[in-house]
């Protein structure tokens, strides 16, 4: 035994290592065998699949109860499920898959041309390049086609063909779209080659034509809730998203690395996406991928049916940079100790010893959760995994609550009427294995089975699939007395969703913006961002719907019409003499926000020595863009970049009796009706001016005078009805009287044609 062990060690493999690998291999094979047919393909059984499975580490070894390494969710779940297929799902696809450029470097000194195809995915552009030594378009196209086909990036499922004049790219899978923009970029290569090219007089004029309009991931669609970067010290509440929605900025605009984004906001997303992208390529100092590991897709974040799955611990560990330990921390199996962010900045993983450094993350598994399986020579744990997720799992990231002073406590609120009817979120927000979730807005899908998973689809079915009407037991709306124009101008949510509107939109906190449900609200400000709701705005389809609204507040550089936000860290550094600062161990909500004077001084410092043509540093807040006048005082102007950012509120759906309009026309057609005349305050972290109360009609781009006049006309509506009915009655009586006379005349004789004597 000893000899064997020794020889294995000499070969770089320990006996335990081999045993573990064999165990995992056997276990994986057995699992696959038992799981046939593949669980990713419906096998017809409606019974829940019981998940008592072995944990697999990042090194693809079995994890037992006495281990102190984290298990990898992806490797553990990948034993049976195609996790790679899920990566394009809605929760993970905000940022496209890893970008990669393909370039054939020139050889020799001949003139060359570099041909580039830009693959555009939302606001992300990746390039495929081919450098041809000769100015042959055919050769260039051929090279490009080869480059695209060999690609490992988001376009890997692309079949490219080139006929010498254009490149056509189509997706293998139906429904996968791709936008490909072609361009030929003739490089000025080395000076020697450029000289030679100039001497030869050959100037290639090539144009690789584009091509198809498609993208590999679903379009960004209707705007959703952005992430909000809140920073008290600089008075920032900046909406961020990798999706190109109106009014939001890309994290790249403020030079925020993927790692920092994942650390900041990963608390309330289920891993994957930005948490796994570019991990190897990101070289900025503001990243710690080597120590943190990747923030993998955390299946149990959504699929756990157990309330022992503690996403608050996930959030805590993401906030600490313990990415690859976060899933263990949230599971019922283990506890994590350590804090990657507290480790020395230049530390390397191999230099860190958990025995001597308590900040090195370490796992303590709950051994009682591990069951030995002698058949597989390994230990297993029970995952309470379900594909019928309870709504409470969704609520961790999707939810809101009122924080107005006079707001009713949560226990006085009613739940969404669909919930009280027994539905759960996933009944409508469904997805297949690719996890491209049905978001549930009209126009999202052409597939009747999915398109009817909207308000109108389920309840009406009309225009989509009449056969699907009444899906999930949806009652057919009576809408008695409601002119149909309302259905064309107002979204269903306009009358049925959100809290009952008041005279002014109320301050709310959302789960993602304020880290609701997270113990001690790690990394999140309980006050900022200042979000109001409900605001009745026109949605992406032009229909009025309740929205959340936030007036962005951020520092920016302005050059012409271009506004580029500045990372708050840069502002804080530049204005450290003027801006407030956080004291050690001070609670976030106690950190003061800057005054307008501090903003002005910081702005002056940041613009000091600025040349006329250089970008100007400004501060945007409360619906205005502020810059300094000659006296160094802040002057606010209305600016496009200061406009509020909004996202629709789909829930909570109120029952019919509490819908707007249930009380009659006056619910909306009075001069004080919330849908047109309630207001949204232009809230700002910094009090430079008193917030303006912006009426809804202004936010809708509507004419307030018209809506006021229209509302006043409803005073006469009862009179109109009475008069119209009375007039109709009189006309009917006249008709009846003369018909009777005519019939009498026809029955007897015609009335005399001579003038009447009477």
């Amino acid at each position: 035994m000893h000899t064997t062990s020794h020889s294995c060690s000499a070969a770089g493999l320990s006996f335990q290592g081999i045993a573990a690998k064999v165990a995992v291999a056997v276990c994986a094979a057995a699992t696959f065998a038992l799981a046939q047919p593949n669980p990713d393909h419906p096998h017809g059984s409606r019974a829940p699949a019981v998940h008592r499975i072995p944990l697999v580490s990042y090194q693809k070894t079995a994890v037992k109860g006495d281990a102190n390494v984290p298990f990898s969710v992806e490797y553990t779940c990948m034993q049976c499920h195609g996790v790679h297929k899920m990566r394009s799902g809605w929760h993970f696809n905000a940022i496209p898959a890893q970008k990669q450029a393909y370039r054939v470097e020139p050889s020799g000194t001949k003139q060359y041309a570099r041909f580039t195809l830009a693959l555009t995915l939302g606001d992300q552009t990746a390039e495929v390049s081919y450098t041809a030594q000769e100015q042959s378009l055919k050769a260039a196209v051929k090279g490009l086609v080869a480059a695209v086909q060999a690609g490992q990036g988001p376009w890997q499922q692309v079949v490219a063909t080139g006929d010498g004049e254009k490149v056509t790219v189509t997706a293998k899978e139906p429904g996968v779209e791709f936008k490909l923009v072609g361009k030929a970029d003739i490089q000025a290569p080395t000076s020697a080659a450029a000289t030679q090219a100039a001497a030869s007089g050959k100037k290639p004029n090539l144009d690789v034509k584009a091509v198809s309009d498609a993208r590999p991931y679903p379009p960004s669609g209707r705007p959703g809730e952005p992430w909000v970067l809140a920073d008290r010290i600089t008075g920032t509440q900046l909406p961020l998203s990798y999706r190109p929605w109106k009014g939001v900025y890309s994290p790249r605009d403020i030079k925020m690395t993927n790692w920092r984004f994942a650390q900041r906001f990963g608390r309330q997303f289920p891993g994957g996406g930005v948490g796994t992208m570019d991990a190897e390529k990101e070289t900025e100092p503001d990243q710690r991928w080597e120590l943190s590991g990747k923030l993998e897709i955390h299946c149990q974040a959504c699929h756990s049916g157990s309330f022992k799955e503690n996403m608050s611990h996930w959030a805590l560990n993401v906030d600490r940079g313990n990415f690859k330990w976060a899933a263990v921390a949230s599971s019922p199996f283990g506890v994590v100790q350590g804090n990657v962010l507290a480790l020395p900045e230049m530390a390397l993983p191999e230099e860190l010893d958990p025995a001597t450094n308590k900040d090195v993350p370490r796992v303590y598994y709950n051994k009682t959760q591990f069951v030995s399986n002698p058949n597989l020579s390994t230990e297993e744990v029970y995952f309470h995994a379900t594909n019928r997720m309870p709504a409470e799992r969704c609520y961790f990231c999707h939810g809101s609550h009122d924080v107005a002073e006079d707001a009713a406590p949560i226990w006085k609120h009613d739940r969404d009427v669909h919930m009280t009817s027994g539905l759960s979120c996933a009944d409508c927000h469904r997805n297949g294995l690719d996890h491209n979730m049905v978001r549930g807005y009209e126009g999202e899908s052409d597939d009747a089975a999915l398109a009817t998973l909207t308000c109108r689809g389920c309840h009406y079915g009309e225009g989509i699939s009449k056969a699907m009407q009444g899906r999930l037991g949806a009652p057919y709306p009576a809408h008695k007395g409601l002119p149909t124009v309302h259905l064309e101008k107002i979204a269903c949510t306009g009358c049925h969703s959100g809290p009952m509107p008041a005279a002014q939109a109320q301050l709310v906190q959302t789960a993602r913006a304020h880290a609701l449900g997270v113990h001690e609200k790690h990394g999140a400000d309980p006050v900022l961002p200042l979000i109001s709701s409900p605001a009745f705005l026109k949605g992406h389809d032009g229909k009025i719907a309740p929205h959340y609204v936030m007036y962005p507040a951020f520092w920016a550089r302005v050059e012409g019409d271009k506004v580029t936000p500045i990372n708050p860290a840069e502002v804080a550094a530049a204005g450290k003499e003027f801006l407030p600062f956080a004291k050690p161990k001070q609670k976030l909500q106690d950190v003061p926000m800057p005054t307008s004077e501090q903003i002005a001084k910081t702005m002056a410092a940041m613009n000091e020595g600025r040349k006329a043509e250089a970008p100007e540093v400004v501060y945007i807040a409360g619906g205005k863009l502020y810059r300094l006048d000659e006296k160094k005082a802040l002057v606010g102007v209305v600016h496009e970049a200061a406009k509020p950012v909004s996202w629709p509120m789909g829930h909570d759906v109120r029952p019919v009796g509490r819908a707007l309009g249930a009380g009659g026309c006056s619910d909306c057609h009075t001069t004080t009706a919330a849908i047109f005349f309630s207001t949204v305050p232009t809230l700002s972290p910094v009090k430079i001016e008193e917030p303006r109360q912006v009426p809804m009609y202004e936010l809708q781009g509507a004419d307030g005078t018209y809506w006021s006049l229209f509302a006043q006309s409803f005073v006469f509506r009862p009179m109109l009805k009475t008069v119209a009915l009375a007039c109709s009655g009189i006309i009917a009586l006249v008709l009846l009287a003369f018909v009777v006379k005519a019939v009498a005349a026809l029955c007897g004789k015609f009335a005399p044609s001579a003038p009447r004597k009477d």
Binding site: L487, L720, K721, V723, I730, I731, V734
Partner: protein
């Protein structure tokens, strides 16, 4: 579809009117005599003026929106809704004012049995001839669905399908009424010279009355 019907309806009226104008209307005499008789009193002129003015607004706002392909909204909708009540009142007043004079008489059969639009020779007619009476009764008859389809939609009676039905009824009956009114407008202006003055002064020349309303003239003379 509805837009096409509007265009077809209006073009059909224009075509019939054009043919009539060329074959009959232009050959009809222009009466120049100074002697006039009062045909419409102040009340009748007021009712007629109100009807004409409100109809014009409703016609332009309603069919303008329909032809644009968008639902009526904004100030156009407000104007349409504001002009509807006086139009309804004017319709009722019209029914009460002229129903008695628009009773069909035996002599109306003469005109109705022939081609009423093609006749140029004098006909036996009271205050109104058979064609005018037909326009009147058609207007009264169509007024009911036009009004009720609009008013009933304001009561919590019809659901979405019912609202669609009411709207369709409103659209198609207003189109029919419009065709009727446009026909009436033609025949009382270009189609029969000397008639339109009743809208303003309420008077027509005695020659006109002798030719087009001989029985009424006899009665008035008596």
């Amino acid at each position: 579809m509805y837009r096409i019907l509007i265009i077809v309806g209006i073009l059909a009226v224009a075509a019939v009117a054009g043919i009539h104008l060329l074959t009959v209307g232009l050959r009809r005499p222009r009466f120049q005599d100074a002697k006039t008789v009062t045909r419409f009193g102040l009340w009748q002129r007021a009712v007629h003026a109100l009807l004409a003015a409100t109809f014009l607004v409703l016609f332009l706002t309603g069919f303008g929106s329909a032809l644009s392909g968008k639902p009526m909204h904004g100030y156009v909708l407000m104007l349409h809704a504001t002009c509807a009540p006086p139009f309804i009142i004017a319709l009722m007043a019209m029914a009460l004012t002229w129903a008695h004079d628009c009773r069909y008489q035996q002599h109306d059969l003469t005109l109705l049995q022939a081609c009423p639009l093609c006749r140029t020779e004098p006909v036996q007619a009271g205050k109104f001839n058979a064609v005018q009476k037909t326009f009147f009764w058609l207007s009264c008859l169509l007024a009911l669905p036009v009004i009720l389809s609009s008013v009933l939609s304001m009561f919590p009676l019809a659901g979405t399908a019912g609202q669609h039905l009411l709207l369709d009824i409103h659209k198609f009956t207003t189109l029919l009424m419009t065709v009727t009114v446009l026909g009436h407008a033609y025949f009382q202006t270009l189609g029969r010279p000397g008639t339109w003055q009743v809208m303003t002064s309420g008077k027509v020349s005695s020659q006109w009355a002798d030719k087009y309303a001989p029985l009424w003239r006899q009665k008035e003379g008596a």
